[in-house]
Symmetry: none
Subunit: 199 residues, 4 copies
DNA sequence: TATGAATGAGTCTTCATTCAT
DNA sequence: AATGAATGAAGACTCATTCAT
C-alpha cells in the first residue's frame, strides 16, 4: 500500500515509460478487459511483479497512457498555433490540420473508443479527458483571436470544428462505410470549417 | 447448446424485453465489464438461470439492447422522412430534428460510448452498428432526393450532418464542458446544416 | 417428497417404462453426466416435470434401467438352464452361449462401463449389481450340478467362466484392438471353458 | 490460452506430480464428477489457481493420472520380461505375476472403473488406454517368443490371459462376492493360464 | 396429471495482486 | 529491485428440481 514511489533513476524512469507505452498500446489495441497484467509484463519484457513496483494497479497504467495520448492529440493543434494563418490560403491550412489529425488517429488506432468507454466508468479518467478537450479548445480560440479572427461564439464554434475533424478522422481511419469516399469527405469538411471561420 | 428459443407467448416476450431493457440499461450505465449476470438478474427481478432461457450469453443481451437502441436513434430520422420539407422554414425543421435527437440521447444515456467500445472488440456488434449508420444515411439521402434536394456528394454530406447532430447531442446530454452554451451550440449547428443542405 | 407413487393405470406403467428405456439408453450411450433431465424428457417425448411424477430423481431412472439391463444379461444364462447339456457336443453349447452373450452386449452398447463406474459411487447400485452376478453364478452352478457336472470349486470356476465370456464380449463389441481376430478369440475361449468344465 | 508450461525446476515437477497423485486418487475414489477442482486443490494443499498453472483443465489431471497408472499396471509385466521362464516351475512364475498385479490393483484402488467409464466419453483417454493394452500384449508375446514359447494365436491367448488376471485382481481387491474364496480363485487361474501356455 | 418456465446452488476457470526468494 | 509462482475472490454458465397454470 502506497509503496509505489516515483522512480528517480534514469533507468527506472525509462522502465516505467516502457510499461506505459507497451501496456497502453496493448490495451488500446485489444481492449482493457482483453489484456491481462501478464500480457503487459511479457510485452514489456519484464516480470508481472515489476509492474507493481511502478503502478498501484492495472488501471493506473491506462490512466498514464491516456495522459501521454492526450499529448499526441494535442500535438497537431499545438503545431497549428505555431503556424501563420494565411486567410488567402485558408483551405490548405485547414486541410493540413485535418491530415495531421488523421495521421495521429491512425497511430493511436482503437484507443479513442477504449478511452471514451473508460471515461464513463472512472471519474478520474473523465476529468483528465475533459481537461484535455478544454485545453485544446482554449488554445485554438486564443490562437484565432491572436491572428485577428475574432469569432462570436468562438468556443462553441471551435468545439464543433474539433468534433468535425474528430469524426472525419475516425471515418477515414476505420473506413467503416465503404460507400463513402474519403477525399470527398475531407473536401466537404474543409468547406464547412472555412464556412465556420469566415462565415 | 442452442436451446434458446424465441419466445412466442406474450408474457415471455415481455420478460425477454424486460431483461434487454434492464440489462442494457445497467450495462450502459456501469459498463459491460462492471455488470455481472447476477446484477442483471436481480435488477430485472428474475433468477440468473432465467437469463439463459432467453439469451445464449451475456453479450447477447447487450447486442439485443443495441438493436433496440438503434430503433430509438432511427426514430427521429424516420419521423423526419414523414415530414414535408419546407425550404422557407428549413431552420426550424433542422432544429426540430436536433431537439428530438437530443431527447433520445438523454434517454439512452451513456450507451453510445459503451457501444463504441464494444464495436472495436466484437465483429458482430460492429456489423450491427455499421448497418444502422448505413441505413440512416441512405434513408435521409433518399428523403432529400424525393423532396427535390438533389445534393452532390449527398452521402458524404449526410454522414457529416449526422456526425454533427450526434456530437451536439452528446455535448448537451453530458454537458461535459460547462464553458459551452447549449443553445448557442444548437444555433450554430442549425446554421451549419442549413449551409450543407442549401450550399 | 415421497409423492412418487407406483403407477397403476396401464398407460402410466407404459409411460414409466418408456422413461426408463429412453433415459437409460441415452445415459448408457452418452454417459450419465453428459445427459440432462431435459434431454431424457425430450427423447421420451414428455415434459421435464413429468419425469418427477414417476421418479424421485435422475439417478433413479438409471437404477431402474440397470435392473432392466440385468434381466437382459441374465437371459442367455437362464436360457442355458433350459438346455440339455450334451457333453459330446459341449463345444457348440459353449459357443452358443458366447454368441448369445455377445449379441446382448451389442444391444446394451456402452452401458457396462457406465454401470461399473456408478457401482463405485453408489452403494445401492453396487448392491443391485452384486446380486445379479451372484444370482447368475448360483444358477449356473446349480444347473451344472443338475446335469451331473459336479465340479470342485464350482463357484470359483463359474465365476472365472463368466469373466472370460464378459471380456470376450467386450472385445468383440468394441473391437478396440484391430490386431486381434474375433473368431480366434471365440475359439480359444471355447477351448478354455471346455477345459474348465471337463478338466 | 495455452500458457501452461512443462515445469522444469525440481520443486515445480514435484508440485505437478503431487497434483496428479492427489487429484487422480480423489477422482478414482469418488468419481470424476463428484470431485471439484476446489476439492483437489484442498486435498493437495494448494490453491485452486495453482492447478491451472500446471494443467489446462480438470480433465488433464485425470489424463496424466491415467498415464501414471498405466506405468503401474505395466510394471509387473515389464518385470516379468526380465525373468527367466522356468517351464519346470511355471506355476510359481504365473502365481508370482498374479500376486504382483493384485498388489498393484490394491494400490490403484477404484481407478479402473472410473477410467473405463471415461474411456467411452473421451476419445483421447480411449486412445491412451488402448495403447497401454496394446503395448502390454505385444511385450508379453515377444517375451514368450524369446523364451522359446512360440504359441499359435499368441496375441489372442495373451489377451485372454491378461483379462483373466485383471478380473481376478478386481475380485480379490474389491472382494465383492464373499462366497468366493480368493486363494482358490488364484489357484484355478494359475491352472488355466498354464493350460493356455503349455496347451 | 401434464407442462415447461423459473429457480439458484454449484462448478470450472480467470486474473489482479502478493510475496518468498 | 526483480522475479514469477501462488493466491483466492469473482464471474459466466449449467442443470436437477420445483411449481404455477
Amino acid at each position: 500500500m502506497g509503496s509505489i514511489r516515483e522512480p528517480i533513476k534514469k533507468s527506472s524512469i525509462a522502465k516505467k515509460q516502457k510499461i506505459i507505452e507497451k501496456g497502453f498500446g496493448l490495451i488500446c489495441d485489444k481492449g482493457y478487459h482483453n489484456v491481462t497484467c501478464a500480457d503487459i509484463a511479457k510485452y514489456a519484457s519484464i516480470s508481472t511483479g515489476s509492474i507493481y513496483q511502478y503502478f498501484e494497479n492495472k488501471k493506473d497504467i491506462f490512466k498514464d497512457g491516456i495522459k501521454n495520448y492526450s499529448k499526441q492529440i494535442l500535438y497537431p493543434f499545438i503545431e497549428l498555433t505555431n503556424t501563420k494563418l494565411d486567410l488567402k490560403n485558408i483551405d490548405s491550412v485547414i486541410e493540413n490540420i485535418i491530415r495531421k489529425t488523421i495521421e495521429n488517429h491512425t497511430v493511436s488506432k482503437k484507443s479513442h473508443e477504449e478511452i471514451m468507454a473508460m471515461v464513463h466508468q472512472d471519474d478520474e479518467v473523465a476529468e483528465i479527458f475533459r481537461n484535455i478537450e478544454l485545453d485544446i479548445t482554449n488554445r485554438i480560440v486564443e490562437y484565432l483571436d491572436t491572428k485577428g479572427l475574432k469569432l462570436d461564439n468562438a468556443k462553441e464554434k471551435v468545439h464543433i470544428m474539433i468534433g468535425l475533424i474528430d469524426n472525419l478522422s475516425h471515418e477515414v481511419v476505420y473506413h467503416k462505410h465503404n460507400n463513402l469516399n474519403n477525399e470527398i469527405m475531407i473536401h466537404e469538411n474543409v468547406k464547412l470549417i472555412r464556412n465556420i471561420l469566415l462565415g
